[in-house]
Amino acid sequence: MIDPGPIDTGLIDIVLLAFLVAITFAIIRLRDLFGAVMLTGIFSLISAGLFMVLDAVDVAFTEAAVGAGISTILMLRTLALTETRSNPRYNRLELMPLLVVVLTGAALVYGTFDMPRFGDPEAPIHQYMAPRFIEQSGEEIGVPNIVTSVLASYRGYDTFGETTVIFTAAIGVFLLLGGPRRGLRAGDALRNDIILRIGAKALIPFIMVFALYVQFHGDYGPGGGFQAGVIFAAAIVLYTLVFGFAKAQKIFRRRPLELAVAGGVLLYGSVGLTSMALGANFLDYSPLAHDSVHGQHRGILLVELGVGVTVAAVMVALFFLFVRRRQV
């Protein structure tokens, strides 16, 4: 028996936002970069909490997976390769940049006065596309999670663009950081820790299954390709952390990873091309099955799978790239 209905979340909003402000000041003031990175981890957690209060569960999900997990790990790895105290030369107070920032900020804030009030039902965004999506999604697409139906079907082209952006970013990082490097130096305080190994062995299969659940359950609850890909990558990251990079590389070899990075985007595009070959528009899923709604389901399934594969492969590949770089 669950208490139904909306509650006044105003107080929670204020508290969480106050946390954010406090953390931001702390991040700026801390000269210890390592501590600052940890605090950005907390920042992501609170942001996700705020998204949840705003009822945006899918976004909170992605923020949790990416911001609190992968981002923090990659930043920590970068710190381990570079400096850990911010250079005092950059910490002097500079008047000109401060002036520019204050003026730009003031202009932006002034611009927001013209925006419709938060949650205003008369706002343009609630007048044109949103009602149509909300009303028609049930008949036309038939998946309970409207976020997925908008993301993967109505605005499937935009999502295709996003996936391609991830792919391109990965290529950029490969070009910058890739290439042969010598292996890691051995030894850190937690090597061969038996408790960690047993715990990881118990957890990793569960995390992978959970990633699959998130991938395919995205039609019904929060989830989808992006989140699932990140969670799957997190499982592989955990394996690498606990059992060592050498073992992880043997399982997730470079070539299959690269193929997977491209393969997901290719899958997505192929669905679109298949639609065209069957006579409809690019990424119009209706002709993919015997009737339109099932076509939509199939299309969304394949497309989300493509996204999930690419995101997982990119995250793992980036992580491996960072880890492989030799300690300076």
Binding site: M1, I2, D3, A189, L190, D193, I195, L196, G199, A202, L203
Partner: protein, 110 residues
């Protein structure tokens, strides 16, 4: 029956919140890192357990309770592991625990 369930749920939630508060207070106020690890461990097990149990009583026997149980199993599995890893790393890397300092006994032979 509903009232009894509600009452149990209430009590679990309240005591869980109490333990969560105590745990954070410990992390804030205890003098040494290793003491604070002890304090933080309270949340992962008792605090989370009671709160999630209280929520599970509210939800009845359903998929939601199953998910709550999953979250609990997760936290009980990963929380102490993380505390262990943290304490071990700190110790191996040289952080010494604070041992009590005996005050000078003025009556002992100087």
């Amino acid at each position: 029956m509903n009232n009894v369930l509600d009452l149990i749920s209430w009590m679990c939630l309240l005591s869980g919140s109490f333990f969560a508060l105590v745990s954070s207070l410990a992390v804030l106020r205890l003098p040494d890192f290793y003491n604070r690890v002890h304090g933080a461990g309270i949340t992962d097990t008792v605090g989370a357990g009671l709160i999630l149990l209280g929520l599970a009583f509210q939800a009845g026997f359903s998929l939601i309770s199953f998910k709550l149980a999953l979250v609990l199993v997760f936290m009980v599995l990963t929380g102490p592991t993380a505390s262990h890893a943290l304490a071990k790393a700190a110790y191996r890397l040289g952080l010494e625990p604070v041992v009590s300092h005996q005050k000078e006994d003025p009556t002992s032979a100087a």
